[in-house]
Symmetry: D2
Subunit: 121 residues, 4 copies
Amino acid sequence: MADLLSPEDRATQLPPLAETGWAAVPGRDAIRKIWKFRGFSEAWGFMSRAALAAERLNHHPEWRNVYNVVDVTLTTHDCRGLSRLDIDLARVMDRFAPEAEIQRDHGEPVTSLCQARTRQA
Amino acid sequence: MADLLSPEDRATQLPPLAETGWAAVPGRDAIRKIWKFRGFSEAWGFMSRAALAAERLNHHPEWRNVYNVVDVTLTTHDCRGLSRLDIDLARVMDRFAPEAEIQRDHGEPVTSLCQARTRQA
Amino acid sequence: MADLLSPEDRATQLPPLAETGWAAVPGRDAIRKIWKFRGFSEAWGFMSRAALAAERLNHHPEWRNVYNVVDVTLTTHDCRGLSRLDIDLARVMDRFAPEAEIQRDHGEPVTSLCQARTRQA
Amino acid sequence: MADLLSPEDRATQLPPLAETGWAAVPGRDAIRKIWKFRGFSEAWGFMSRAALAAERLNHHPEWRNVYNVVDVTLTTHDCRGLSRLDIDLARVMDRFAPEAEIQRDHGEPVTSLCQARTRQA
């Protein structure tokens, strides 16, 4: 059973993910990133590596693929929000596609996730 | 460039797909099916075979995966609606997972796709 | 670091694997099984699931694929012979393809692996 | 049914492949290349893209994987030797892994394939 990220961990770990293109999902304690690859083959190569990483962490993404686009949302169902597993999987995925185009016109700043949880704590 | 399915092809080819669990997507000329597998591994094995089939047909699904669930929507962007490619890809996907559970509580009967296109023709 | 299987574990765990088609590799402390699928797609679906399992165990096969044939050898390089990891991976792979044809005209009976290690012990 | 590569095609198309690391397999009309990746994940991402390309060409490799190493042999069984399909698949695979380390201590220069077939012609 994973624990929700503490306010301190959110403050230190979410902003670096925001720089690589992760944003907050409105209304959920979840982060999302959208990769645009050069075609289906490149998108699928990325997904194949991400599937291995997910299985290794025993933590799986919510993801959607349409041809060259891979749209990933991470959250931890066990604890109904972001946990260390989401941070780990996000970082691994970022390493697999350093050169892909990132779509940034969605969601809210990850700081919204830090603030919300800080108030609840 | 793929052609839209004719009313005659819709009438003969969509109902058999409906029996395997494909339904019409409200407001789109598209079909959708939701598979529930026994876990991520089985879902991923299915997706890996479907990816090969898609690449061979040069026709790709819109699909979403959350752990053991694979949610597939098929339409042909070139012709802004259903073409023979969607029928072919749907049939191939059906062959890959004959024993998976199918979620049937979504969408509309495929007959709505036959009627709509018949009226437009 | 994995430990070599004990003579007792070999005597109890290798024979059931032999029944599913695993055989001893002459001259190595390793087991091998050859699956024949109905085509590349089915072979690749199997390999995709096996890759996930391997990553989860952090233990990887030596494998070869030619169209519909997947030829797998398992051993543990760390301990230069069979370990519990090989048994685990063999069992998982067996579950992924219960209906595939198995080629049985290679190798030696797994009992050779029990005897050899018993003598060394 | 694919045709064997002509001597002219061999003379123009094999040498560029030799530069990227493809070599002749002794005793066969086949080419081979060995990639060394940084780990299984990277190797598997490469194989997943190559599987798509193979399925699209309807032409499949003989390949072997041990952790980070992918060892590929290409030939065309239909025509018992190298065809245009092997050149196409080799070029596509080369595009998928431009930065991987290539092991070059195997086989013979591809010029042996040009000479042999020139003499037979």
